[in-house]
């Protein structure tokens, strides 16, 4: 499946945000932990100074000191006071320790204080939040924000996509509907977005140039075949005059015959080119209601000599009456071209099947291998080695179908070439 353009940056943004937020988790942890420990160290120090100050201010005597000692744990929980001998001053040190059943973490201050000239070792320990708990909390908050961000991205993206791409969609729809052969111009809506406006301007230029080139080509083909008609008529006339010559030898007669065949082909191609140009130029405007089966039988009657000459059997299955509003001439040409195509490419003694049903006419003739689907309706694509046909018959049929928005298709089924016209 193809991806939508705006989903690409969304994905990248999301991944980037995820990486940043995941990286931020340990960073937050270290920063918070460091601040915490710094604060606790200060807190411990303050406790120590307060204890020192109390002792100094109160000027406790030995008895009182012993009494205090007994109640020390109650008076100052979280601290320990142990008498030691010969301690040095200012030997404060800090440490972190985990203890207890739940592996609680503590930040401790180990210090020496002097009371009444005696030295004591003072330990102040304060509980610090555990590593995993801190981390978990940070991670939870981070992911909460991350999901908030992603939802926001998606919603914003959708809203923006609709709005931002609207001019683009408009342009695309118009380009899709544009058909060079329909002789229509194209107008894009003005967009306030620079890129789209630029795109529209350039597309307009491109299409205009195409229309000009297409029209030029059409006129050229029409003029060229017009100009060829008269010299061809003269040429044909001269060959015929030669044919009437009484003194003609067999060899000369053969040569004249050999001239006539390609000459007939040239005039055939020329006539067909002219016809194509006329269909493209939207001539043949008059329409009338045509009964398909009636026209089919008329055409088969006209072709009967050619069908008999190849000993072909034509089987017509008529499951539906189709009445079409179209141009009589074009309709005749369409049916004729498909029938002629079937006759020319049939082997002798084979069958041509014609089926009218489901708003569709299918004409099938026997064949050996499938033809190229992509090029079969192109001009001058000749499928067989016999070069009698002009290479334009199917192109003309396609052009007529395009004109009425009918669907002309080719398929190869059970060794039969099938040409179908679906009347919409």
């Amino acid at each position: 499946m193809k991806k939508k353009l705006l989903n690409r940056p969304l994905k990248a943004f999301t991944i980037y945000a995820l990486i940043v937020l995941v990286c931020s988790i340990p960073m937050y942890y270290f920063v918070i932990d460091a601040i915490w420990i710094e604060e606790l160290d200060q807190h411990n120090l303050i406790i120590k100074q307060r204890i020192e100050k109390h002792f100094e201010d109160e000027k406790v005597n030995e008895n009182e000191l012993a009494f205090i000692f007994n109640f020390w744990d109650v008076l100052q929980p979280g601290t320990k006071l142990i008498p030691i001998a010969n301690a040095k001053r200012n030997s404060d040190s800090v440490y972190t320790v985990t203890k207890g059943d739940e592996n609680d973490r503590f930040r401790g201050l180990l210090s020496t204080i002097f009371v009444n000239g005696k030295s004591f070792q003072l330990t102040v320990e304060t509980n610090v939040e555990e590593v995993d708990e801190t981390l978990l909390a940070i991670a939870l908050v981070t992911f909460l924000f991350f999901s908030l961000m992603v939802t926001g991205f998606i919603i914003l993206n959708r809203k923006m996509a609709k709005k931002i791409w609207k001019p683009f969609r408009n342009t695309l729809d118009k380009v899709k509907k544009f058909d060079l052969q329909k002789n229509q111009n194209i107008h894009f809506e003005k967009s306030d977005i620079e890129e789209f406006d630029e795109l529209n301007v350039e597309l307009n230029k491109l299409i205009e140039n195409n229309i000009i080139a297409f029209n030029r080509q059409k006129t050229f083909i029409e003029n060229a075949s017009h100009e060829l008609q008269t010299p061809l008529a003269v040429l044909k006339s001269k060959v015929e005059m030669l044919m009437q010559n009484e003194q003609l030898s067999e060899k000369q007669a053969e040569i004249i015959n050999a001239i006539q065949i390609p000459l007939a082909r040239v005039s055939r191609i020329n006539k067909n080119l002219l016809l194509l140009a006329k269909i493209e130029n939207n001539q043949f405007i008059e329409t009338e209601t045509i009964e398909l089966s009636v026209l089919l039988h008329e055409n088969l009657e006209l072709l009967s000599d050619y069908i008999d000459a190849k000993k072909l059997t034509v089987k017509v299955k008529l499951n539906q009456q189709i009445a079409l509003v179209s141009n009589q001439t074009l309709m005749e040409i369409l049916l004729n071209n498909l029938l002629i195509n079937a006759i020319i490419h049939s082997t002798e003694n084979s069958e041509i099947l014609i089926n009218i049903s489901g708003n569709k006419i299918t004409i099938s003739n026997s064949g050996i291998a499938a033809l190229n689907h992509k090029t079969i309706f192109n001009r001058f694509v000749v499928s067989s080695t016999n070069n009698t046909n002009s290479g334009l018959g199917l192109a003309i049929a396609k052009e007529i179908c395009n004109r009425y928005q009918w669907n002309l298709t080719y398929s190869f089924v059970n060794n039969y070439h099938e040409f179908s016209v679906k009347f919409e």
């Binding site: 003269v234 040429l235 044909k236 006339s237 001269k238 015929e240 009437q244 007669a253 016999n386 009698t388």
Partner: protein
């Protein structure tokens, strides 16, 4: 029988005239619009061949003039434009037939033959050549008073041959005559041979042997 050929392509006009003269018509030319107007105002013709694109004006206005002056001349439009509109318009104004260029001389002669017959007789329309007598209205043929039973195609062929007496007619021209534009799409005209063979046989049976001769390599000839 007088024919006026209004055609600016001199070579073509000359060939048409040569051919038509050899099957018994008297031909005159007009190569420009004004010459054509001059001729049709001064003379009457049995049939006028009219090219639509002429130096000096359109063939259609000549046609309009002819019709306005209530002339009875048969008119066949001969055009390289191959335009359905022109064909329809021409026939509406009153042309008797329309032939696209390039065409066979034999086809042209057959069309002229048919147009002239249609114009000249109205009720009893008979045409005789040798001992063959055709009732053009009833479309039946009698030879020495015995009726010749022909299919539609054989009848068409017979008329075609008779309108091109003593000329070599190519299979191609016969095929085009029998199936019109469709013949353009095929190269195999063997069916012509079958129809000609049947016609020959039927003519033989009533004693007209050897009228249709096969010309080696090119076609047939109605030899009378």
């Amino acid at each position: 029988m007088k024919i006026l050929i209004i055609e600016d392509e001199k070579e073509l006009a000359k060939d048409i005239a040569d051919y038509l003269s050899s099957v018994g018509y008297l031909c005159e030319f007009a190569a420009t619009f004004s010459l054509a107007i001059e001729k049709i105002e001064m003379y009457n013709y049995d049939c006028i061949l009219l090219d639509l694109m002429l130096p000096g004006g359109s063939g259609l206005s000549i046609l309009e003039k002819l019709k306005a002056s209530k002339k009875q001349d048969g008119i066949i439009i001969v055009s390289a434009k191959n335009s359905i509109e022109d064909k329809v318009k021409g026939l509406q104004i009153g042309a008797d037939d329309y032939l696209e260029k390039p065409f066979n001389h034999a086809e042209l002669a057959a069309r002229i033959f048919s147009v002239i017959r249609r114009k000249q007789f109205n009720n009893a329309n008979f045409f005789e050549q040798g001992n063959i007598k055709i009732n053009l209205n009833a479309k039946n043929v009698t030879v020495n008073d015995s009726i010749l039973n022909l299919t539609k195609k054989e009848y068409d062929l017979l008329l075609f041959f008779m309108g091109n007496k003593n000329k070599v007619i190519s299979k191609n021209a016969l095929a085009e005559h029998l199936s019109g534009d469709i013949a353009d799409m095929f190269d195999n005209f063997d069916f012509v041979y079958a129809h000609v063979k049947n016609l020959k046989k039927k003519l033989n049976e009533v004693g007209c042997s050897n009228i249709i001769k096969t010309v080696y390599g090119t076609g047939y000839k109605w030899d009378m």
